[in-house]
Subunit: 132 residues, 6 copies
């Protein structure tokens, strides 16, 4: 199984609901360094998993939708705990849609799985992995 | 599949038995930077894999049992080669016990797998992954 | 010249005033991975720059004052652009006060300079260095 | 499942064929930081996955075959797009052969899978994982 | 003294002249992860060292002049050993020119020093620091 | 001013004397990831600070003198707190001697300063900088 990963980042504000979150119930923020990994069984006709340039552009567009935002105020995240692991799935799902739409190239339809990891600090990170 | 990772470290002395270990048969030491990863199929009611705060505290307690120690002198490691990979399993097993004991919260019982990675230098690391 | 560095992190929300900041004028957030470095010409009587344990505790206390906060709402940052470089000086100044107060130990008074670096992502960081 | 990883690097020149590669169609180069991971179900008689020393030497020998080379001129890569993911498989296959040849020790025959990751920059990497 | 750093990378081919370089006399290549640091005594009117956005764009433009190139074939590097440390100075000098030209903003003229570090692998890097 | 850095590591056991060290008074150990930096005003005739190959070999030889050792038992460290900062100076001094002996090449005599940093974990490191 082959894989290819590209990295970008996003800087957001948000707050959490629930006692388990302690001081993180207050409005605070985070830089998430985001790694998007593409898995497939065989390389495509160009001998790659997916074009790094296209993958980078598409990841950036997905992140731009909420970069420099307060997630508490975005309609799509209303009433939701935008935890690191939740955001990992959100990003993976948006990338999957773009692959289905052909935005990562026709050959990218051969991708089998997507994995997204968000590093919130040097001591904590979370991820989500799904089939395409 | 979701995952969440927390990081801590431990500084120990030990020695190895067996020619394959060369100079590492002498009493020496290591800093292990320890990553504990929790995997589960679905997020819990708080939209998380496990509480980062609880996970961090429990990992630290597991490591405190042998932090700043000479492993050769601890009864539980008597006559054992405390290799990086062996210690990864040891730590994963201790964390699994704590999940079963409810120390990572009731909702943590939904965790499916635990993975522990010990980085012994910038050029070598080892890990162990098990079902809960 | 000797140096010793300890690392911690802080997660905050804030916004900036000024066209130069573009989308960062909106309320957003950041994780700052904070490195505090202590410089001195000679080691103290214990053969160290400063006790790592004390340095770690004091750095954490300095950061706790605004961890998980919206900086725009803290009186001390009212009307100020809390840029990464500005926060680096703020933290360095708070640590310097604590050294003068003896909170890093009597021997820490021999420290000559303090340097604080805040990493806001994998591609940008800022710092401030001052005499004690 | 246990794992052990060793890291080395290689510095090569190459070019790509195909419009998708844009400016990378020109002769350029890369440093690949190479991580070779060995997976196995149980530790061997020495309580390890594989000897770190042997693994390091064998990885280095595999990389030496094309270190400081222009891959476009090596017969084995003639007419091939030596993408990061392709090279990951190439290296994994060479290591697998060496395990079969006993060069990582007799006990290394118990290794179940090999995974090779090549980091081409701080924002992109690729890998390949195969059974032994 | 304040500092701000932005990071980018460049992928080039080149070769060296001189026995000291051993196998690096052959045409090979490198990824250089490039950190450009700006130092100044006081923050500007916006409370920053320099705008991160502008700094990032200007660094990228400087690198684009030789990204995905064989340095041996570029007129400006003819007959020169394009060592990591030499390239660090080259990049620092190009950035300095752009500051003097006002491309990093009028306020950037207050920058006192520029420092450029090129990481060629996980075990070697080089840098150059100069006054503006 | 130019700089060049090479990285290696060492794994040792030791203990500390003095209440300030708390649990580190017990025999424990550490991996030190060691960065040796060479500074000089102008590049040499080969357009470099120092040969990376020679620098790497000499750093390794300096570290081999106490790699995989219990520092408490080495005559040269008898009765000394072998703190991270102390070891940084020890290594810098040994490298300086080797430069004076010509072991880093005749041209290395132009080196102005040496800086050694020892990373003992992901959250603490220490260093020493001296003139040649």
């Amino acid at each position: 199984m082959f894989s290819l990963t590209v990295r970008d980042h996003v800087m957001i504000a948000h707050s959490f609901q629930g006692e388990v979150f302690g001081p993180a119930q207050r409005l605070h923020g985070a830089t998430f360094v985001v790694d998007a990994t593409f898995h497939r069984a065989e390389l495509d006709a160009d001998n790659i998993v997916v074009d790094i340039g296209l993958a980078t552009v598409q990841l950036k567009e997905v992140l731009d939708a909420f970069n420099y935002r307060n997630l508490d105020e975005l309609p799509e995240f209303k009433g939701v705990n935008t935890s690191t692991e939740f955001l990992a799935r959100h990003i993976a799902d948006r990338i999957a849609e773009r692959i289905h739409d052909g935005k990562l190239g026709e050959l990218a339809r051969g991708i089998a799985e997507i994995e997204v990891t968000l590093r919130e600090s040097h001591v904590a990170w979370a991820g989500y992995r799904r089939a395409l």
